[in-house]
Structures are given as structure tokens and as C-alpha cells.
């Protein structure tokens, strides 16, 4: 199904992604090495004796040469061992897994919601290009792009949690409390993340569609008597999906970053809050682990987007 040229392109992309991941691990590790503060001293607190600190440093492997420490850290990560958190005293992998159970559903909900809003809106605007509904939509999206998601989150909290009391203002009951309560507490955060993203996505969808609508095959489709709706759905939209996918891939990284702030607004125990707290507590091993997971996620999503190009547009022979 995949042509050899696309296959080789994907393999090259896979290789460069892996290389980027290795580079990223070097950057993350060496950046955090220059952080002031001794993790052992920090863990034991102000009253600790020098002997106890030295013992813990030895136990944590902090006295080994830096290259050896990097190789140990990176090697263990490959086997899924992210080390032990200094402050929580549990494996970092467990912490990340526990927090991903909040962040991942949140990011996916936001992504789905923003696509579900943006693509129909973009389609609607493109079909009425230059007329009043189009200008109105463009005005609203222009505003949406300018709204910081955490401010939007505050407004949502005020309206739906404080005033109407429909949803909780923050916190997370955990998935064990049942799907519905958990889902309910992720709803406002997901909307706060999704709407500003939807504004960008709707603009891209619209301009990609307008670009596609000027192509010759659209004129052909019109000439053979297809309705405007059929042309938009059958011919224009699939062809306009490429730039939309590209932006979607790029936005995923923004979405992940957005969760850091949004999780702080809603006091959600996700990856964003974990990394924010770990940074303030100088829990370096957690910071390193979370950043590597996030970088890997961004690279993976962009690989999937690349793969999706091949499915959306089988003609696409990616230039080398």
C-alpha cells in the first residue's frame, strides 16, 4: 500500500526522530546538571549531618563521573526504568503512569473537541467565503487566537462552576470514582484547552479549503454537476487535510504545554502539575523523566502525522 519512496521517507523520519530524542536526552541531562542545589542535601533537609548527605550522595550515584551517570540514566530509561523520585520516594515510572492517566485523556479530549469544532466551522466559512457568516467566523477566531487559555479557564470556572454550579471548579476524583465524575471534572479543562486551539485550526481549515477550491479538479467536479456540498465533502476537504494535519501535529506540542498551565488552574494531578512541582522541589530525576516522555510524545505525534499524509493523500510523493 505504501510506495517505496514514502516508505524510505518514513524510515528516514524515524531515524531523525530517534536522533532528536538522543540529542534531547543529552540537552535535558546536561541542563539539569548545572542546576544549583545538591539533591541529596535537599532531600534530607536543613538539619541533616554531612555524613548522612555524603552517604545518600553515594547511594544515589551522585559521586560517579558525569558521563557514566548519563549512560546509566539513558540506559535505564530504555528499559523503562526512570529512576526513583527524590521527594516522593517511588519509581518515577509509576508517578508518570499515574499522572498520564489524567493528562493523556485531557489532551485527547481537547484535541478531539478542537477538531470537532474547527473542521465544520472552517468548512462552513470557506463555503461562504467573503460573505457575512465568513467574516463573523473569522472575527470570532481572531479573538479566539488572542485569548490565553488559562484566562478562558477562569471565565469558564466563574460561569459554570461558581455561578451555575454544573461542574466542579477543580480537583480530580480519580478514575476509580467512576467514569462520569472523572469525565465531568476534565470537561472544563478540556474546553479551555480546546477552544483557543480550535480558533487556529478553523482558520487553517478555511484557508486550506479556499486554496483547494481554486484547483482545476474542483472546476471539473462542478462541470459534471456535483452539488457544492458534495464538492466540499468529497473533493475539497480530503485535499485540504494536509495543512490541517501539519498544524495539528505542531499544535500537539502546544497542547501538552497548555496542560501544564491548565492543570494548575484546575488543580488536576496530571503530568503538568507533576513537572511544575518537581521543578520547584528540585526533584531532578522526575523533571528529566517527564520532559523525555513529553519530547518522545511530540516526536511520535509528528511521525504519526507524517504517516497520516500517506493515507490522506496516496499520490503524495514526498520530495527528498
Amino acid at each position: 500500500m505504501l510506495s517505496p519512496s514514502i516508505l524510505s521517507h518514513l524510515l528516514t523520519r524515524l531515524a531523525t526522530s530517534l536522533l532528536t530524542l538522543v540529542f534531547a536526552s543529552l540537552v535535558v541531562f546536561s541542563t539539569l546538571e548545572i542546576l544549583p542545589g545538591d539533591p541529596a542535601r535537599l532531600m534530607l533537609g536543613l538539619g541533616a549531618s554531612e555524613d548522612a548527605i555524603a552517604a545518600l550522595r553515594g547511594q544515589m550515584g551522585l559521586n560517579q563521573p558525569i558521563i557514566l551517570r548519563y549512560l546509566t540514566w539513558a540506559g535505564h530509561m530504555l528499559t523503562g526504568d526512570f529512576g526513583r523520585s527524590y521527594t516522593y520516594a517511588v519509581p518515577v515510572r509509576d508517578l508518570i503512569a499515574e499522572r498520564l492517566a489524567v493528562s493523556l485523556p485531557l489532551a485527547l479530549m481537547a484535541l478531539t473537541l478542537s477538531m470537532a469544532i474547527a473542521i465544520p466551522v472552517g468548512l462552513f466559512a470557506a463555503a461562504r467565503r467573503g460573505r457575512a457568516p465568513d467574516s463573523a467566523i473569522m472575527g470570532v477566531t481572531q479573538l479566539g487566537v488572542a485569548i490565553p487559555n488559562f484566562w478562558f479557564a477562569l471565565l469558564l470556572v466563574y460561569v459554570f462552576a461558581v455561578t451555575l454550579r454544573l461542574v466542579p471548579a477543580g480537583g480530580f476524583p480519580g478514575w476509580s470514582a467512576g467514569i462520569f465524575p472523572a469525565f465531568k471534572s476534565l470537561l472544563l479543562p478540556a474546553i479551555a484547552l480546546a477552544l483557543p486551539q480550535a480558533a487556529i485550526l478553523a482558520r487553517v481549515t478555511r484557508s486550506a479549503l479556499i486554496e483547494t477550491l481554486s484547483q482545476d479538479y474542483i472546476r471539473t467536479a462542478r462541470a459534471k454537476g456535483l452539488t457544492q456540498t458534495a464538492i466540499l465533502r468529497r473533493h475539497a476537504l480530503p485535499n485540504a487535510m494536509i495543512p490541517v494535519l501539519t498544524i495539528l501535529g505542531l499544535q500537539f506540542s502546544f497542547l501538552l504545554a497548555g496542560t501544564v498551565i491548565i492543570e494548575n488552574v484546575f488543580y488536576l494531578p496530571g503530568l503538568g502539575r507533576l513537572i511544575f512541582q518537581a521543578i520547584t522541589q528540585r526533584d531532578l530525576i522526575v523533571v528529566e523523566g517527564v520532559i523525555m516522555v513529553l519530547v518522545a510524545a511530540v516526536l511520535l505525534v509528528n511521525l504519526i502525522v507524517d504517516l497520516a499524509y500517506a493515507f490522506v493523500d496516496p499520490r503524495l510523493d514526498i520530495p527528498r
Binding site: 531523525t16 536522533l19 532528536t20 540529542f23 534531547a24 540537552v27 541542563t31 539539569l32 548545572i34 542546576l35 544549583p36 481572531q142 479573538l143 487566537v145 488572542a146 485569548i147 490565553p148 488559562f150 484566562w151 477562569l154 471565565l155 470556572v157 466563574y158 461558581v162 471548579a169 505542531l250 506540542s253 502546544f254 501538552l256 504545554a257 497548555g258 501544564v260 498551565i261 494548575n264 488552574v265 513537572i275 511544575f276 521543578i279 520547584t280 523533571v287 520532559i291 513529553l294 519530547v295 511530540v298 516526536l299 509528528n302
Partner: protein, 265 residues
């Protein structure tokens, strides 16, 4: 005349004017605490009301605008100052240098920007300077990529060949012919990055990683408003509107400039 350009320019000038005015005059001292006047809604005395310390919100927004503008402006300067030369070198030299610069770009793009910004401010401590560096670093690959792409398309044009034929050096061609032709594109990009910088600064100072108190900043005003949202929603409303209006103005300015400067129009 272009409508986006006029509206965008007007808003941008108004915000810049407000920041300048704050050096000479604000309705109240932006840091003056007056507990007797705390949590008042908008009134004739306090147009945007007061916060939980009785500080005048309008005055705080005016003073806070300096911080937002300064951080975003310098961050754009860092991005453009390093990114544009990098992009030009990549486009004119090509080869392994180009390849290396582009891979470096990919690397920076793979890092969730805000998280790295949090990491940087965590290393060097919170503060305006570190926020500038954190935001500035992510502007570098943006400018490098835009510059490289635009420069490559200019370099393939005939007048570049003509300049080469009369023996002009590659550096001279870049400065005299490539740069002026891509300047409008870079100005538009700078406006967009400026707007993103305002948003990023607000996000960082919301998380407590921006300029330290008592200097007012829009992001921290929103953080402080969060706990008061049930009793004083106006505390959240006005700083947020200030951010939205500023970013909207800059985006409209960027759109307008793109339309006006695009030679195809």
C-alpha cells in the same frame, strides 16, 4: 486602506501609549495597599475596581503593560537577531551547515516550549530577564526557518544570477538583495512572535515565574484573581481583557501588514 492594519495599529499604539503614560501618571500608585478599599467593583473612583489588597486594578494593568511589552519585545529581538543570520547563512551556504542548522531547529521544536521555559526559569530563578531568555530561545528557530525558506526562493531568482555575474560577493548579495526582499515577511513574523511573546509572558508570570512582586504583571494578577473568582470576578476580567486586546491588536497589525506588504496584492 486596509481595515485590519488600521484597527491593529490603533490598538497597538494605544497599548504602547498606555505603557508610556504609566511612567508619568497612573490613577493611583500601582503598588499602594489600601485594605479599607479592598475588593471594590468598578466605580468612578476605581474604574476597574480594586484587588484583595485594595490596589487600583487600572493602575496595575497600566504598569503591568510595561513588563509584558518589554519581555515580548526583547524576546523577539533575541529571536530575530540570532535566527535571521542563521537562516541567511543556511540558505546561502547550504550543504552540511544548512543540514545541521535545520536539525538543530527540529530539536528545539520537539521541546514543548513552555515546559522548557519553566525549566530555564527554574534553573536561573524567576524574573523578567529569565523569562525573556526562555521565550527568546524559542523565537530563534522560528525566525531561522522563515528566513531560510524566503531567502532560498529569492536566491533562485534571475536578478541574483545577474548580481553574481557582475562579480558581487555572496555576502553583498545577501545584504543588498536578499534581505530587503524578505524584510516584509520578517516584519510580519516579528509581529506574530510579539503577540505570542505577550501570551507566553502572561503564562509564565501566572505560574509565578515572571517578574517578582510587587511589580504588577498581567499573568500574576490573573493568578491572584483565581482564588477570589467567587467574590471578585472583576479581578480576573480586566487583566485578561488587557492581554486579549493587546494580542488581538498585534495579530490584526500582522495580518494588515501582510496584506499591504505582499507585492502580489
Amino acid at each position: 486602506m486596509n481595515r485590519s492594519l488600521i484597527i491593529g495599529l490603533t490598538i497597538t499604539l494605544l497599548v504602547a501609549g498606555m505603557a508610556l503614560l504609566s511612567y508619568a501618571w497612573t490613577p493611583y500608585d500601582a503598588t499602594a495597599i489600601d485594605i479599607a478599599a479592598k475588593l471594590q467593583g468598578p466605580s468612578a473612583a476605581h474604574w476597574f475596581g480594586t484587588d484583595h489588597f485594595g490596589r487600583d486594578i487600572l493602575s496595575m494593568i497600566m504598569v503591568g503593560s510595561r513588563n509584558s511589552i518589554a519581555v515580548a519585545l526583547v524576546a523577539v529581538g533575541i529571536g530575530a537577531g540570532i535566527g535571521i543570520p542563521l537562516g541567511l547563512v543556511a540558505a546561502t551556504r547550504g550543504g552540511w551547515l544548512d543540514e545541521m542548522l535545520m536539525r538543530f531547529n527540529d530539536l528545539v521544536f520537539a521541546f514543548p516550549a513552555l515546559i522548557t521555559a519553566i525549566m530555564i526559569t527554574a534553573i536561573f530563578g524567576p524574573g523578567a530577564i529569565n523569562a525573556i531568555i526562555a521565550i527568546g530561545i524559542f523565537n530563534i528557530p522560528v525566525f531561522a526557518r522563515v528566513t531560510r525558506g524566503a531567502a532560498l526562493s529569492i536566491l533562485s531568482r534571475e536578478f541574483i544570477l545577474a548580481a553574481k555575474a557582475i562579480g558581487k560577493s555572496s555576502g553583498g548579495i545577501t545584504i543588498d538583495h536578499v534581505l530587503p526582499n524578505i524584510a516584509s515577511l520578517l516584519i510580519v513574523q516579528a509581529t506574530i512572535q510579539f503577540a505570542l511573546g505577550i501570551l507566553a509572558e502572561a503564562g509564565l508570570s501566572y505560574l509565578g515565574l515572571g517578574a517578582p512582586p510587587p511589580n504588577p504583571s498581567w499573568g500574576r494578577m490573573l493568578f491572584e484573581a483565581q482564588t477570589m473568582i467567587g467574590i471578585a470576578p472583576h479581578m480576573a476580567l480586566f487583566p485578561g481583557l488587557a492581554i486579549v486586546i493587546t494580542v488581538l491588536g498585534l495579530n490584526l497589525l500582522g495580518d494588515g501588514l501582510r496584506d499591504v506588504l505582499d507585492p502580489r496584492n
